[in-house]
Symmetry: C2
Subunit: 173 residues, 2 copies
């Protein structure tokens, strides 16, 4: 049995760029609207929506917190649309993605830890793990695609490799 | 000078239905996903996106709190797309919409007060007032449409009518 331990890095727009967008104000410059009453931080995330009768929808996901250490057995991807997650519960969460190959190896996984006000928007067809909430039950606003066709592919890692997420340092989670 | 005072009603899916969707968990039944780790409250909001090169984008709006009483002078609408607002700052806010006529009268305005976890998604071409945050500077996740064409129409009420939002009862805001 081979054991691979994943280390979480701080989520940044640069490190996440191959996989999608980080949806946060950060150092973006706003456009002033509504007679100066509102700053618009524009187009932080790009909604992709293709395939037969594809439409974007807004959902809420309520996620149970994960117990670490945990074993990672699979990732999934959505060929016909992006999928965004915006935290609504004031907690950090883990973001696990993989390089854009057909069968990612454990070395092609990338683990990030968010801040409580960072959302992510996965580009269409980006391998990612299902929600990895921490600390408590957490709600997320989710924008993704509904429509015809099989929009969810799963990839399961070889049984002989144990991929582990250890506890996240407490100052980060 | 005629004075019209608007009274805020509690935001509910039923009362808001002519104008769009209330994006909240409320009593919706979830679909279990992610091997039982996540409840998906599906398609709470429907993203509309038409017109030349229309694409949906995810933005953050940072709104100054309004000082009540305030005078309402206009509403706006977006013919080519829906526009959703999800509160990220844990505060209630006001939602002011108007009936689907070309030139709404003050009697055709409808004022709602949200709870801190209710989002709204305005249907395309629904008259609404720009963001009416309360109490403090508030961030909202906004999903709307970018693309070609004039996607913002404004309607200004007659100067001779003073439309006023009075203070919202403290137990509601």
């Amino acid at each position: 049995m081979t054991i691979v331990r994943l280390e979480a890095k701080r989520l940044t727009p640069e490190s996440f760029a191959p996989f999608g967008q980080v949806v946060e104000i950060a150092d973006h410059a706003p456009v002033m609207i509504n007679e100066g009453n509102t700053e618009r931080f524009d187009s932080l995330g790009h909604v992709e929506c293709t395939g037969v009768n594809g439409k974007a929808v807004i959902n809420i996901f309520r996620a149970q917190p994960r117990v670490l250490p945990m074993r990672i057995t699979m990732v999934e991807r959505h060929p016909f649309g992006s999928q965004s997650f915006q935290p609504l519960s004031g907690e950090s969460y883990l973001v696990l993605v993989a390089d854009a190959v057909e069968q990612p190896s454990p070395e092609q996984l990338h683990l990030f830890i968010s801040s409580p006000d960072q959302g992510v928007n996965y580009k269409a067809n980006t391998w990612h793990h299902p929600l990895l909430a921490l600390n408590k039950v957490c709600d997320f606003l989710v924008v993704d695609r509904k429509g015809e066709g099989d929009n969810c592919e799963e990839y399961f890692f070889c049984d002989q490799i144990e991929i582990i997420i250890d506890a996240v340092p407490s100052e980060e989670a």
